[in-house]
Amino acid sequence: MPVIELNISRIRKLVSGNVSRKQILDVLPFLGLDIESEDGDKIRIEYSPNRPDYSTEFGVALGLQGLLGIKKGIQKTSIKKKGKFAIKVDSSLTKIRPYVTGIIAKNGTLDGDDIQQLMWMQEDLHDGIGRKRKKSSIGLHDADKISFPLTYTTTSREHRFVPLNSNTEQTIDEILSNTEQGQNYGWVIENAKNIPIILDSKQNTISFPPIINSALTTVTSNTKNILIEVTGIDKDSVEDALSIVMSTLKMAGFEFEELKISGNKNSTPQLKDRTIIYDPKFTSEILGIDMSLSNMVACMKKCRLDASVKGKKIACIIPRYRFDIFGPMDLVEEIALGYGIANIEPKLSPSTTIGQKNDITIKTELIRKTAVGLGFLEALNASLTSKKILYNMTKRNSSEIISVLDSKSQEHTILRDSLLPGLLENLSKNIHESYPQKLFESGVVFSKGEPVHESINLAVIVAYKDTNYSELKAIMQSLLRTNFKINSKTKTSKNQELFVEGRHADIFVNEKKIGEIGEINTEILETFRIRTSVAGFEIKLSGLIFD
């Protein structure tokens, strides 16, 4: 979940209405914003990825105003249509990055902190809904440095301009290899010959989407008018991103003027509110709260939506930036938030069903109890383990290995096909503890088959100077006889690396092999640095005591 830094005193100013620090801290969690840490005036909060409108102080303040009852309903935004600003899209972008949208934000002022907030928002939007800039990426520019109309077109890799935070002209290739943005996001355009570019009427480069803006249009604290452009591979998602930026800049005090967009299936964004007709029965059905229609309307307004009673239903107006709202269930949640989660009374209804443990659990519990009765301590190991423990140190056959891709941890790369190697590893980590050491583990093991076969095994291991095959055979037979009345036999097995030659066997129940037993090979014990005798067995419980 994304984390952002907020300044309480700035939030208080934005919210207005003289709210205290405490009121703000108390309400934040009820917007779904978890407070990660507090450090004087600064707090860090975590917001949900479905609410990118909470990625700045502006968006958070907009939400707080609602729940605190300071301002309710939709944030009114109008777009002037004077036709002064336009962008044309070239058909060469069709297979590269076909869509662009944008708007002009006018007559605002930004201080250094505001700009910082906008930069962080941009990064969050790029990582989240922008899918690391592949789906959509945003550029903010000082509109007064630009000669309109703009062209969104393609260029060659030799194209040169001065990128943001630089003072020298560089080619596209140089930008891709020299700048941080180029290194991080160059993969989006891969090895394309034609590179997306936004040029103004004087052929100045404005932006090289989705990598970097030009230095020419850098937004500073002197900027009054801003061009917002969003490019991407999907028309809806570029407009989603634009709507978030617009809502944020509106809260920061800007007004808007249209940017006309045309060419190659692009069009000027409408950014209209939506209306969903809400059936009030959902409130009692889903929340379990009986509420009047007008109360529901009030709750929705507290969540910065507009709503009005229409006969027996509610017409709910959703601003463009709330694209997380799909249907009535999302509105139920809005009502719950407006009502206040803290005000909802939990209710304990009697269960009409009788609880039951799974047969696997019941049988496994029984055999685990017997193991404890026989003096064994239960161990728990990861089912995702390492090749080193599972195969290399135990010299077991690794031909049926099941691996995961790109594990971040070397100790967790292979699904275990046996429990004994893990127990040997446990013994090796406990050589300084007193003996005898007796461990058991029950757990899932994996093997290949349609596509993966999972079964539950039980393994037992004993370590001390006098342990031997016969002791383990007695334990194994007792485990299966107790409660389950299973009679087992051991039969000489062919040589195995894990065990001492002549001191291991296959375990059979009704002529079916269910496991292996033996004294652990001294060479293997040496690789685990175990300096005493060890014997163990492993049996497959699936198909034996449960299906």
Binding site: L287, P346, T352, G355, A379, D406, E433, F446
Partner: protein, 465 residues
Amino acid sequence: MSQVFHDIEKKILETLQKVPNQTPEQLSKNTELSIDQIRRGIEWLRLKGFAIVTESEKITLSLGPNGLDSLKNGLPERKLINMLKDEPKTFEQIRSVLSGAGFNVAIANAKKNGWIKIEKDNSDSLVSIKEKPIETPEEKLLSFIGEKTVLQEEITNSLAMKILLSRPNYIIQTSEKLKNISLTDAALSLDTSISSSGAIDVEADVSSIFAARTHPLQDTIDEIREIFVNLGFSEIFGSMTQSSFWNFDALFTPQDHPARELQDTFYLEDMELKNPATASQIKNISSSHSKNWKYDWKLSESQKMVLRTHTTCVTIKHLAEQKPENARIFSLGRVFRNEKVSYKHLVEFNQIEGIVIGNNTTLRDLMGIQKEFYKKLGLTKIKFWPTFFPYTEPSLQTMVYNEKLGKWIELFGMGIFRPEVTKPLGIDKPVLAWGGGIERIAMLKYELDDVREFYNNNLSWLRSV
């Protein structure tokens, strides 16, 4: 101190009461106990204040190689006298028999004893007997020691001993520390027969033994399972390896969602499930994704096998297959996340998840179940906060106040399955879902601040917790 004695102690006490002051060796002989048992018994009695251990030094003497030679053939000066018995001899003649150092020693000692006189000739000196040589104290001492080892205090002529000790390899002197055991006055008057037979020192320390037991984390898992069962939930069991279809697609997670990337989820190398679901399930899920998330849903993405990232895939599959009208079910087991392992993150941990379908399926009912669940765990100070899960709406999380840490801790999450999840699978009733990680609760229970401890299988912890 209770006056209860071990059999060893009793035997030592009784022997010493008869013969005070004995060495451990003597005690061993008299009690027929091994020297180790005697040593242990002495130490116990000493600690109880009944035995006094004094140490003394024992010095013994025996003959060295020169001494043994002299015992047989006489000291060098005696050998010289024997040569001179018949007639005087020159130095040269004597040297032919008594060579090297022996010559000088013999001449010097015979002269010192006043046995010989030496007359100088032109070229040589002539030695003759001056007086009849009697047996010297040194010779007496040699034959006294003989081939035995004697205590130094048995030797009466200490001058002779000093002289022989000054001559190399005649006498070997060895010293040995000796322990002497005696009883305190209290012990001398003790009646050891008073203590009832078979009684032992019940206050003495004993060595530790460790209980065999189930794993503490497994105990917490079992406890939580039991609570679910008590709340009317029945357990279902599902695979840890799942197709992306049930782990993600069926739960309304779009195929380009960051959670589906390799860096968050474990994909099985070269493994896919050709038919992850029925044709109609695939068709419905595909169109729900295309309509709501506006992208081209691909079957191939949903066929990729993953290690389940939650147990929800097990419950949703069960619902889609069984379509129960009224049910409370839960699924419990290991889930996986491709994360860096740290004190608060594991790649593999246990999760439980319950669902309710049928009557009484409002958010308030779900909150009521939560409250009851935590009450059974002994957690009574709880509150609910809104949160977000891709497949539930509305969604809440429980915050539980921990007195020890002095803060609110996030525990289980809950919500109502989105219609975008249930409708395509043919489920038309609201489904409540709730659950979370178990290790976090176990950490609170066992007061651990490193979650890795649960899987270290560290015997010192398992044997003491």
